[in-house]
């Protein structure tokens, strides 16, 4: 019995191990039809939006590498709360358009940078974009988020800079 099955079992095990190794190797990488490897991770944003908590939340923008921005079309969405005002904190120039649109639950800010070299943000630098004045009446699930309509336009290439953002979930009282 032992002699009868030992060798086949060993060989079968080797085949299983080899095939498993092969498939594990492939699972780590997604290949396109040309055999090229494409992104395995969600693309990381060069620019990040984050929130500075407080009585009036402040939207911050940071960059992982030096960027030069020609324009920022910023759409901040909100739900289960009311935004009553928005202020530019002076780090960016005055926006060409600024409005809290309660019909659309959006805060819209269009920053157009006139300088030839654009608005530069250096790695690690944090820029205050806008401060939101929100109503004290907040219901469960209150949240601020960057709407997908938002564009950050690179001054050199006139292409959109990839960005990532975090939502700000607001409880009944702000820290």
């Amino acid at each position: 019995m032992k002699n009868k099955y030992f060798l086949p079992v060993v060989l079968l095990s080797l085949v299983v191990i080899a095939v498993s190794l092969f498939s594990i190797t492939n699972q780590k990488k997604i290949t396109d039809i040309d055999g090229r490897m494409v992104a395995t991770q969600p693309e990381e944003g060069i620019v990040s939006f984050s929130w500075q908590k407080g009585e009036k939340p402040i939207l911050l923008m940071t960059a992982s590498e030096e960027v030069s921005i020609a324009a920022l079309d910023l759409y901040i969405g909100y739900k289960n709360l009311e935004v009553v005002g928005v202020s530019n904190l002076g780090e960016l120039p005055e926006p060409a358009f600024q409005k809290v649109s309660s019909d659309n639950s959006l805060v819209v800010l269009n920053y157009l940078i006139s300088e030839d070299d654009g608005f530069k943000i250096y790695p690690g630098q944090s820029v205050k974009i806008a401060e939101l004045d929100i109503s004290s009446e907040i219901t469960t699930g209150a949240e601020l988020f960057i709407d997908e309509e938002t564009n950050i336009v690179d001054n050199n290439t006139i292409k959109g800079l990839p960005y990532k953002s975090e939502n700000l979930v607001i409880n009944s009282s702000l820290e």
Partner: protein, 531 residues
């Protein structure tokens, strides 16, 4: 037992061997494969205009996907005989982590450029400039500056492998240049060499509130534009072309062949006039077999030519994306009677009567959509027949036969130009946004009796020059349009009278602060309507 064990063993060994071979083969295939993609682009990507003797600056940019940081670029860049480049004109961008001493080999109007980096990944970039190339303009002429994709190579920091560093160059974008006459200043034509004239460039305009100096630019010598070329097209039936050429230019060249088709829509300095001539027939060897031509269905006294697509016939109307050539033809009349007629007057926003030398209705055709009771019909390439420059702003007027549209009551009209937003008109003398569904216009089926609707108090807003994901307008004015117009305004992109630049929003022949001001006002107004 023994009889079944041995074949089983052989089968398993073959399977194992096969599996190992397959694994090995796959690894070999992937060895050296790219771990990310990149695009190499020459910036600016629009025609760079300089004078003889001036520097023609071009930058090589990389734009890498998947967050891959670039540590090496090798590329071949080639240019025409009008330019020269030496090693001192090549500057590598150390701010993006590259070593300050690139390898530069220049031969036969091509340069092999290599930039490398030994810096840590934290100092490298996914997107940015690698080389600044400072060409010298040697002589008049135009041509492309190109990147050879097949010989370009990019490497980068691959966190998953120390050996697989190659980034595939999937896209290259080239640019073009145009070198014009020398910068010799002058007072009169007598100061210029033979074949040149003393030219006074126009005063740059300045937006209200902008603190820019209003200084008249100096006169300079430019080639005389006094030679008239006049010949039959070698492409189209019954088409004659007339244009002013430089003294040394060969009239036998056909602008349809020797220049891009855009030349005819006056992107170049010289405007080509198209004339209907029944006697003109092109030679069989060059005649375009897929050409179509007829009297315009939308513009009175106009004859049109275009090239149909492979799956189209000449009964199909040309699309707005197709190039249409137009000429005046007296006996081409719109056939009213069967269909309603829209008589309209409208303005393109900010196009001033005194500063609109580059407002040419043929280059600014309208798209008109009519709507009534759920029925819509679109008309492309509508060219207003009358231009009135008696007021502060240019007013255009036209009559459009609404062929295929059988409604005459409660009509709404949507209009847009080539770099404009779509505006809705629903009442006569409309002065702002019409916030209701449908419209209130009434039409008749006669050019004479149908009312002339005046939409001039609510001009067609401009500023849509590029899209978010393409170089074509996308129906909105946003930060991308701002960045594009700003880029052109930075170099004061200019054309001669009658020329066309997409970013020249007011038709002043130059992209400048006026256009930026105008775009800002458009964005402000449109966002105010939407939000």
């Amino acid at each position: 037992m023994k009889k079944t064990t041995i074949p089983l063993l052989i089968l398993l060994m073959v399977t194992l061997f096969g599996g190992l071979v397959l694994v090995k083969q796959n690894q070999d295939t992937r060895k050296g494969a790219s771990f990310a993609n990149t695009a190499l682009k020459l910036i600016p990507n629009t025609t760079i205009e300089r004078r003889v003797g001036e520097v023609v600056p071009v930058k090589v940019y990389y734009y890498t996907e998947s967050g891959a940081k670039v540590d090496g670029v090798q590329t071949d860049v080639c240019w025409g005989s009008h330019l020269s480049l030496d090693e001192s004109g090549v500057v590598v961008n150390t701010a993006n982590g590259f070593n300050s001493s690139p390898i530069v080999v220049i031969k036969d109007n091509c340069a092999t450029l290599v930039a490398t980096s030994q810096q840590a990944a934290s100092n490298l970039k996914t997107t940015g400039e690698v080389f600044a190339l400072n060409f010298k303009a040697l002589r008049e002429g135009q041509g492309p500056i190109t990147i050879k994709k097949e010989s370009s190579m990019v490497t980068g920091d691959n966190p998953a492998s120390a050996t697989d560093k190659e980034i595939a160059v999937t896209t290259v974008e080239n640019t073009t240049y145009k070198i014009i006459g020398s910068t010799q200043t002058c007072e009169t034509d007598a100061d210029c060499p033979p074949g040149y004239e003393c030219y006074q460039p126009p005063m740059p305009s300045c937006a209200p509130g902008e603190n820019c100096l209003q200084v008249m630019p100096p006169k300079y010598c430019r080639p005389m534009l006094e030679k008239n070329c006049d010949r039959c097209s070698i492409y189209f039936d019954h088409m004659r072309l007339a244009w002013q050429a430089q003294q040394n230019e060969d009239c036998s060249k056909d602008p349809l062949i020797d220049f891009s088709e855009k030349f005819l829509s006056s992107s170049a300095d010289t405007k080509v006039t198209i004339i209907y001539d029944a006697k003109c027939m092109p030679p069989p060897e060059t005649r375009k077999p897929n050409q179509c031509s007829r009297c315009s269905k939308v513009n009175d006294q106009q004859y049109t030519w275009w090239l149909r697509g492979a799956d189209e016939t000449c009964d199909d109307d040309p699309s707005s994306a197709q190039t249409i050539y137009r000429a005046y033809k007296e006996d081409c009349h719109l056939s009213s009677g069967q269909w309603p007629v829209l008589n309209y007057k409208v303005q393109y926003a900010f196009v001033k009567s005194d500063y609109s030398q580059c407002f040419v209705p043929e280059d600014w055709p309208l798209q008109v959509i009519v709507l009534s009771g759920g029925v819509t019909k679109a008309y492309n390439n509508v060219v207003p027949s009358k231009v009135d420059k008696s007021g502060d702003f240019v007013t255009v007027q036209g009559s459009l036969i609404l062929e295929g549209f059988d409604r005459t009551n409660n009509v709404a009209v949507f209009m847009k130009g080539p770099k404009h937003l779509q505006m809705k008109y629903a009442v006569d003398k409309q002065a702002n946004r019409y916030g209701k569904a449908g419209g209130e216009l009434t039409l008749t089926k006669s050019i004479e009796t149908s009312p002339v609707y005046d939409f001039t108090a609510y001009p067609i807003l401009s500023g849509d020059v590029i899209g978010k994901n393409s170089d074509s307008p996308d129906g909105v004015v946003d930060g991308y349009d701002w960045a594009e117009v700003k880029r052109m305004a930075k170099v004061l992109e200019t054309v001669e009278d009658g020329g066309y630049i997409e970013s020249d929003l007011d038709g002043s022949c130059q992209v400048n602060s006026n256009d930026l001001y105008q775009l800002r006002k458009t964005l402000e107004e449109k966002q105010g309507e939407l939000y």
